[in-house]
């Protein structure tokens, strides 16, 4: 018997009613993610990447189809699926420490355990010096570290990331990519990661899922077999990049024809 996937999206569609018009944001999406996999979603703006992620997170119910986690239908948001937003979504009135402890505290973890967990994850993302700072005192990269730490500290099994590094400068982004990969390899996390950047997708993912718009749907999947750590300047990397961008553009060309 095949091992149960951590995430199983079956025939999921989403139609938004917007004033009098209806927008089909997502049609018949099928996606299976196994535990420990790093999957990237990529595609043009408006092809339903965020919609799919928000359905998995439980923020929106699908119009048709089902999304299963460990074989059970997803009903609303829960700590086992941690979301990292592009705009961070940190609580501005809490310090770094308190933001990271928000989840465990909400779930009634005992004081001593809470303290130990918080310190561990503050250190893990390298923010010990800023543990008592408020979010407005942090740089974008530091804020995103806090956002990642707070879902990990809350025992998230799968981390959903919606263009988490999109607002950061190139150097900070590269550094956070490295850190995320290291965390992922060390902890056995499962990651579902939305990005606009082909390079980012190839650098990070075990598997890249290509989506296309009008209506939003999954076009194809692409397994990345390059050995890690990957070198974005290597000829092998470039070969994959060319192939993937040809695929992305062929879909566009098909649509234009």
């Amino acid at each position: 018997m095949a091992e149960l996937p951590i995430l199983d999206v079956q025939g999921v569609g989403k139609t938004y009613a917007f004033n009098d018009t209806r927008i089909e944001a997502l049609r018949d999406a099928n996606l299976t993610v196994r535990k420990g996999e790093f999957v990237c979603l990529i595609g043009a703006s408006g092809c339903g990447k965020s919609t799919l992620l928000r359905i998995v997170a439980g923020f929106e119910p699908p119009t048709v189809g089902t999304a299963l986690m460990w074989g059970k239908p997803i009903q609303g948001p829960a700590p086992d699926r941690g979301m990292v937003f592009q705009d961070y979504g940190l609580f501005p009135w809490l310090t770094v420490r308190e933001n990271i402890g928000f989840g465990p505290a909400s779930r009634g973890r005992p004081k001593s355990e809470l303290k130990e967990t918080v310190e561990r994850f503050v250190a893990l993302v390298g923010l010990s010096r800023f543990a008592d700072a408020y979010p407005h005192q942090l740089s974008g990269g530091m804020k995103q570290r806090v956002a990642i730490a707070r879902v990990l500290a809350n025992d998230a099994e799968i981390v959903l990331m919606d263009e988490p590094f999109g607002a950061l400068d190139a150097m900070t982004r590269e550094r956070l990519q490295d850190e995320l990969l290291e965390l992922w390899q060390r902890t056995g996390l499962t990651v579902l990661f939305v990005t606009h950047s082909i390079e980012e997708a190839i650098f990070l993912a075990d598997r890249v899922v290509v989506m296309e718009p009008g209506p939003g749907r999954i076009a194809c999947e692409h397994r990345i077999t390059l050995p890690r750590p990957r070198d974005v300047a290597s000829p092998e990397f470039n070969a994959v990049r060319r192939e993937l961008s040809a695929r992305l553009h062929s879909h566009h060309a098909k649509k234009a024809a």
Partner: protein
Amino acid sequence: MSDATVPNTGALAAPSPRLGGFRLLARLKSFGLALIVPLLLLLGWHLAVKAGMTRLIPSPGEVAEYMVDFAVGGIWDDAFSATLLQHLVASASRVYGGFALAALVAVPLGLLIGRVKLVSQLLDPFIQLMRPIPVTAWLPLSMILFGLGPKSAFFLVFLGAFYPILLNTVFGVKSVEPRLFEAASMLGCRGNAQFFKVVLPASLPSIFTGLRLGLGLAWFVIVVGEMTGVPQGLGAVIMDGRTLSRTELVICGMIVIGIAGFLSDRLVVLLMNRLLRWSPLHHG
């Protein structure tokens, strides 16, 4: 890079002594600048009285002399000598009493109106209808309802402070970023727990804006409130001064209300800056 990207607010670094010196200088400068206009006005007032432009208004010097008598007595020894404190206490107790009651009712009510649809549908239209009625228009009715005396003043202060606190609280609750609710619920804080962990802290800045406005209005309304025949209070002093044609008394009352209102606003700001340390708009 991570830890090296020190935030440019510098809020985490202790101020160096050199910087402290500069800060003192900057403070003195802004204090000095703030004094220029009032001093010029005082001078203009003094000169206008000296030049005999009016007989009904005393000079600043006379007012200052009367203020001393009003505060500690020993100069004129009339009915108002050394009564400042008791009038101030009477007014302040009504201001803070009415204000505290208004805050106690308006903040929870505002949180409910902003958060619970049914409560909003039930109360919002009514409140919008009542709000345009000026507090002063309530004076006759409040005298019928509460009689001539301190209760009436208390009621008017309550009413004056009530609306700004309520409306700002409702606004604060309604403008909480939806993202924060999503963040809280995916971290395991759902339903009613979000009320205290998200709604309340997120709307605190607006609530404080309401409290500041409300307290300001409370001092504003107290004069009207104390015109309803209360024996004590700064409003009563001003009214008595008017009927007795003692303009210096009127001006002393005005000055004391101004200073008291200013100081109580500073108190709220102090508290606000403490509680809203996290907000980039509020520290300092």
